[in-house]
Amino acid sequence: MLDKNEVEEILKIKGKTRGAVFHTDVKYVLDKKGEQGLDELRKKLEALGQKNIYGKEIKSTGWYPLGWRILSLLLIEETFNWGGKEIINMGMSAPKHSFIVKTLLRYFVSIEKTFEESSKYWEKHYSVGKLEAPEIDIKNKKLVLHLMDFKIHPILCAYFKGYFKAIANLVVKTDKMTIKETKCAFDKDLYHEYVIEWE
């Protein structure tokens, strides 16, 4: 169970993220747990002496502490006793509701175009780290993403699995798509590597 000390440690994480991520969290929680679930989160935040990151004052285009992003995910995971699968689903859901994603739809023309612009895409969301697509193999229906300089918290590994898959799904018309984190910065790798494959 998160305590104030842990939260303080989390809030020490450097970097910023767009407010849109909190909006997509709210949307997901509302869909799954309703207003009551959201209230529960708010109360916990309050109990931890934290600002309401699920309020209207959080703007999609605003930049907020990256620690809040981790806090939100951990709080949700703990409150609703969700496992990694649910965090992946949260990640999958996020691009569908994100205003930032909507502003980037112009890049969602094809998988090449989308992921060629992945660094730009990343920069629109996070002030730290770097996203690259070293391999876009249309013929073999394979995409490799590298998330570098982004050793923030393992919960994001699951979240991004869902998130990147959802982005790929916006440009690849398929019912069968898989994503694997083949390398992880928390496993002594230098970066996170995600391999997306489809049929």
Partner: protein, 522 residues
């Protein structure tokens, strides 16, 4: 430091602009009533608005990432429209069926328009959806109504065709019947002219063409008044009283050229049910009948004349023998001679009757009219027949009129013959103890002579033949063998020649009343 402040200020401005833009887009998306999907060039739905979510029941969570065809029933058709859009930039108002989240099939009209970036690259499409359920419903209801109406019309058409076929069949039958009728009419040897309801000529058979010297084609469709230039038609028209009307009367029509010919003309109606639909003039050639009749009459006249002289000689010879002028005859001889005398008398009567009939038929029954008293004639006749009445034991009663009879002109001899005939019949065909009552009456137009007996009467079955030549009722023949059967024929002709009428009422075994009238003004 100043530059840093300036950058922070710009960054803040951009942030505010973005926030305003986001708010605006959200508000617009919520407000916009038209369901809109944003599709990327791969045909994948990448965004949606609230109206689209509400309309289809699919929220972003489900629908984003799905192919455009996911929403529609006919997936190939949608893909085709999508390709057309990428090629032609826009596709407008295509009707398709959308399958909603609740599986409901909704008729919609879709329009797809491409999106381009600032470098004119296609970056996707907007797909707008309009619910046309009501329009479709209305259209379907209209189509249903049109279909129903079409079916009704089709049925009506079939019924009409059937009716037409029936009508054609009926017309064909009518034509066949008309042809048959025409053929029959044409083949008739009497002359026929057929008129329709408007008295226009519809048929002239060959016999009529020949007799009237006309051609059917020249007169068809015309009224008889329009073809009086044909002299024979004109004569016919005059013969029938200048009108084509059914009166039941027969007319005599004579054509002088090339040889004198006589026609019996009859106008008869053509009836269809109770409706009179036309008229036919029938001209029956009676020239031969006339000639035969004339020859017969001539023969009878010659024979009668030739017979009357020897019969008169026989009468007077027998009279002289019976009177004893030529010597005594025995009583037995007298009996035979009387029978011979009576037979001779009957022969003379018959000859006289035949001569009268002959004169009537020849139109030579010349009337010598003078004012004469009918009472006197009756009294004289009664005097003449008193012997017979006593012999038959029949009482003769003359009821004289209480008022003075108007004076009338009559042929005394012929009227005497009539009264004598009728009273004689009343006595002869009576029973012993019977009576014959003669009375007179008059009104403003006629004087009436009524002769009533309570004799054997005439059977109803023979009433219509009573004035025919040589006719004698069955019971009359049994009662008296002496009659010639010419008396009533002569009576009728005499009365009618005077402009009067004769009729009777009779009941078998109860008696007969003969009444004849004679006009006061002549």
């Amino acid at each position: 430091m100043i530059k840093e402040k300036k950058d922070t200020f710009i960054s803040q401005q951009i942030k505010e602009d973005l926030e305003n833009l986001e708010r605006y887009i959200k508000e617009l998306s919520i407000f916009l009533p038209l369901p809109i999907y944003t599709i990327n060039p791969s045909g994948i739905i990448v965004d949606t608005n609230k109206a689209a979510n509400d309309f289809t029941g699919y929220d972003e969570e489900i629908i984003i990432g799905k192919g455009i065809e996911f929403l529609f029933e006919n997936k190939k058709l949608i893909q085709k429209y999508f390709k057309q859009t990428l090629k032609n930039k826009i596709v407008k108002s295509r009707e398709v069926i959308l399958v909603a989240y609740n599986k409901k099939r909704i008729p919609v009209s879709i329009s797809i328009s491409i999106r381009k970036d600032d470098k004119n690259n296609i970056i996707g499409c907007f797909l707008a959806i309009s619910d046309i359920t009501e329009i479709k419903g209305f259209q379907e209801s209209l189509e249903k109504k049109v279909e129903e109406r079409t079916n009704d019309l089709e049925k009506a058409k079939i019924a009409l065709i059937n009716m037409l076929e029936d009508a054609q069949e009926a017309r064909k039958k009518v034509e066949e019947e008309q042809n048959k009728t025409r053929a029959a009419l044409i083949s008739i040897t009497d002359g026929l002219i057929v008129f329709d309801k408007d008295k226009r000529i519809t048929l002239v058979n060959p016999d009529a063409e020949k007799k009237l010297k006309i051609k059917e084609s020249d007169v068809i469709g015309k009224r008889i008044e329009e073809i009086l230039d044909f002299s024979a038609v004109n004569k016919l028209y005059e013969a029938i009283g200048k009108k084509i009307e059914w009166t039941g009367q027969r007319y005599e029509f004579i054509l002088e050229k090339p040889v004198r010919r006589f026609f019996d003309v009859l106008i008869v109606p053509i009836a269809s049910g109770e409706e009179i639909v036309g008229t036919i003039i029938i001209m029956h050639d009676i020239t031969r009948d006339k000639e035969i009749s004339r020859m017969k009459t001539e023969f009878v006249a010659i024979a009668a004349h030739q017979l009357r002289t020897p019969l008169s000689a026989i009468k007077w010879s027998l009279h002289m023998v019976l009177d004893g002028d030529v010597g005594k005859v025995s009583s037995e001889q007298i009996e035979f001679l009387k029978k011979a005398y009576q037979s001779n008398e009957r022969m003379i009567l018959l000859i006289n009757d035949l001569l009268n009939v002959n004169r009537i038929e020849e139109g030579r029954f010349i009337y010598n009219r003078e004012v004469y008293s009918l009472e006197k004639i009756i009294e004289d006749t009664n005097d003449l027949l008193i012997g017979l009445s006593k012999e038959k034991k029949v009482k003769l009663i003359f009821k004289k009129p209480k008022k003075q009879l108007p004076k009338i002109k009559i042929d005394k001899e012929k009227i005497t013959l009539v009264i004598q005939n009728l009273i004689d019949n009343g006595i002869r065909y009576n029973k012993a103890g019977g009576k014959v009552t003669i009375s007179l009456d008059f009104d403003k137009i006629f004087v009436y002579v009524i002769i009533e007996d309570n004799g054997i009467g005439i059977s109803n079955l023979q009433h219509d033949r009573i004035f025919s030549k040589f006719f004698r009722a069955d019971n009359a023949v049994k009662s008296d063998a002496e009659g010639t059967g010419l008396g009533l024929f002569i009576c009728k002709n005499i009365i009618e020649a005077h402009g009067g009428k004769i009729n009777f009422k009779s009941e078998k075994n109860k008696g007969t009343i003969f009444t004849f009238s004679l006009p006061i003004k002549q």
